[in-house]
């Protein structure tokens, strides 16, 4: 669905690249996470893929279209949810969606269905300017689905949302993905990436340092240990067992069988820990 080869971009038109020799491919139906701290080159890459920034150097194909010569028809297949909400503040939520629906050449979704989907029903006739930040964000998110996109660009889709709504938004992303929608997710939130993405790319200083699935990364970089808390002779004991050493695996089975377990955790690494390990940088 997306093919990027040797992509470069410089805002100052010199060799100070904001995006430096970036290459990756995304298959149809995949959720691909583009992860990195602020200023890493995530948004620049996304803006090039969506035509908001002109391609300077490299080969980019999006939804079967060469980004060097963007055709407007390409946008019939693309949906884009921006990090900063950008809706017409003097139009109601419903009017916003109705207007954007008219700008595509394909069959569009019922604006009210989308309003309901993001939990704005009952507020659809209120001017978007009077919406809270979270409501505007949800409206921007809903708008990105108006044309039934095959390829969905999501820039920090849960930023600024309360946990319940963020969870609901994640469910929508999963549902759409199950229908076959390819998702390009830009975020610095490793938890949402871990939960949603089939594969993630770590980008720092304009360069991709690593691309793999969260599961593989955890296996590769995590410690293969299980930490157990249990009562032995009335005392709370905390022990770690290797999941690869045969002797310790047997010992773990004995502990599970013969004791009252309080807690048990696998000691796999989080994406954030892996990111720091790989890039030597934090995510903020």
């Amino acid at each position: 669905m997306i093919k990027v080869k040797n992509l470069y971009h410089s805002y100052s038109n010199d060799d100070k690249y904001a995006v430096d020799d970036v290459s990756f491919e995304i298959s149809k139906g995949e959720i691909f996470g583009f992860l990195g701290p602020s200023g890493a080159g995530k948004s620049t890459t996304q803006n090039i893929l969506t035509g908001l920034l002109q391609l300077q150097k490299g080969d980019v194909e999006v939804a079967g279209y060469d980004v060097k010569n963007i055709k407007n028809k390409m946008f019939n297949k693309i949906g884009m949810s921006f990090e900063q909400s950008n809706v017409y503040s003097k139009m109601s939520g419903l009017e916003n969606l109705e207007f954007y629906g008219k700008l595509f050449d394909v069959k569009t979704r019922d604006p009210m269905e989308l309003i309901r989907m993001v939990g704005l029903d009952g507020k659809e006739h209120i001017k978007a300017g009077k919406y809270s930040k979270g409501m505007k964000h949800r409206l921007t998110f809903a708008r990105s689905m108006i044309n039934n996109p095959e390829l969905w660009f999501l820039d920090e889709p849960t930023t600024g949302l309360d946990p319940a709504i963020a969870s609901h938004i994640k469910d929508i992303i999963k549902e759409e993905n199950e229908k076959g929608v390819t998702v390009f997710l830009t975020t610095h939130n490793m938890y949402i990436a871990d939960e949603l993405c089939d594969r993630v790319a770590f980008i720092v200083d304009g360069k991709i340092r690593l691309i793999d699935s969260p599961k593989e990364l955890k296996l590769k970089y995590g410690e293969k240990l299980v930490e157990v808390e249990y009562f032995r002779n009335g005392e709370l004991v905390k022990e770690s067992f290797s999941t690869v050493v045969e002797e310790e695996r047997n010992k773990l089975i004995e502990v599970i069988k013969g004791n009252d377990l309080q807690t048990m955790h696998s000691k796999e690494a989080t994406l954030e820990e892996i990111f720091i390990k790989v890039t030597g940088r934090g995510l903020v």
Binding site: T50, Q84, M91, F99, K102
Partner: protein, 371 residues
């Protein structure tokens, strides 16, 4: 179809914005100024203050001469104030001026020194010659001083000057054109600045408002094009310009102007001005940054006004400033039997130029969408 949707959306949004009502409100204010403040014709008569320090016989002859030139052939007794003192005076009103004969040298001094107006002391010298002593204020031109010297030179006396001026033939080149009244003469200025050129600034305001809300980015990732977005904005601005132009013109000029030509010219010149505004806007992030460039454009566009109101100052370089052509075109449009061919050529020129600038602006906006 998308252009139509964008246009109607912009029209609805404009009707909800302040800019729209500011433009209409300004047009109404300008109309009220024209109707209630600006006279049909400006009073260009100068005031002249004289003290006739002459023997009675000579003074009577002087008065008789003034009476012959007076519009109603009667002198009016008036009170005039200078240096907070009231003086009596005889007032004679001719076609060119109002002449006040003051009753004392004190009055003359008061007018000359306190009111800072030129005053004339007419008196007789020892050789019984009539002497005119002018108390000038320092701002008079050398031409005026020379004229006074010639006028009072005995070798070129009144008879010679009268004879010379009587033989000057004044002939109007465009005999079928009725000159505009002073009030009507202001309409082309208002149409140029409130109608056409305001598009330049209003479109900047609209674009920067959308930029601050990120609307352009959202529009750019739809199957619609940037040029449709830009043109829909221009369309709305032109509609407003047509409305404001009619608000100003119809009540003052009635059916005299060539309205089809006027609407055509408002559309083409407005398109040019709005495209120029778009092009300037494409270089900046917000209106604060753009203000410097917009200010320079404002100053340049205002300059042809000087030429419009001072026809003797009409250098070639000022004729290439677009507002000069706009002023002249609107003048032709509102004049009886105006030169519509000039207006049509100017419209064509603004269309071609506007289209070129619009293409450039569209190209710039495509490159700077994420600014």
């Amino acid at each position: 179809m998308k252009l139509w949707y964008s246009f109607t959306k912009e029209l609805v949004l404009s009707s909800k914005s302040w800019y729209f009502y500011i433009e209409l409100g300004m047009a109404i204010i300008l109309l009220l100024i024209l109707v209630f403040v600006v006279p049909e014709e400006f009073n260009s008569k100068g005031n002249e203050y004289l003290f006739l320090d002459l023997p009675q016989v000579v003074r009577d002859r002087y008065r008789d001469t003034l009476l012959e030139e007076d519009l109603d052939e009667t002198a009016e007794m008036v009170e005039v104030e200078a240096d907070k003192t009231i003086f009596n005076a005889e007032m004679y009103e001719t076609e060119e001026s109002k002449i006040y004969l003051l009753d004392s040298m004190d009055a003359l001094n008061a007018f000359s020194s306190s009111e800072r107006v030129p005053a004339v002391h007419v008196h007789v010298n020892e050789d019984n010659q009539i002497i005119h002593t002018y108390y000038l204020q320092g701002y008079e031109t050398q031409k005026l001083k020379n004229l006074l010297l010639v006028f009072h030179n005995r070798k070129a006396g009144y008879d010679v000057i009268d004879d010379y001026s009587d033989n000057i033939i004044v002939r109007s080149i465009y005999q079928d054109i009725e000159p505009l009244t002073d009030r009507q003469n202001l309409i082309p200025v208002f149409l140029t600045f409130n109608g056409s050129l305001m598009s330049l600034f209003i479109i900047s305001a609209y674009i920067f408002l959308d930029k601050s809300e990120g609307i352009i980015k959202a529009y750019a990732v739809t199957a619609s094009t940037v040029w449709q977005y830009l043109l829909s904005k221009i369309g709305v601005i032109i509609i407003t310009s047509i409305a404001t132009s009619l608000i100003i013109t119809v009540p003052i000029m009635g059916l005299q102007p060539n309205y089809p030509a006027m609407i055509l010219f408002v559309v083409t010149s407005g398109f040019f001005a709005a495209s120029l505004g778009l092009y300037i806007t494409s270089f900046y992030k917000d209106i604060v940054q753009a203000f410097g460039a917009l200010y320079i454009v404002i100053v340049i566009m205002i300059m042809p006004n000087i030429s419009y109101f001072t026809p003797s100052w009409d250098p070639d370089w000022i004729k290439i400033i677009p507002s000069y052509i706009m002023l002249q075109s609107f003048k032709e449009i509102v004049s009886l039997n105006g030169n519509i061919a000039y207006v049509l050529v100017a419209s064509l020129g603004f269309t071609v130029l506007g289209l070129d600038i619009f293409i450039l602006a569209n190209h710039r906006f495509k490159k700077t969408l994420t600014l």
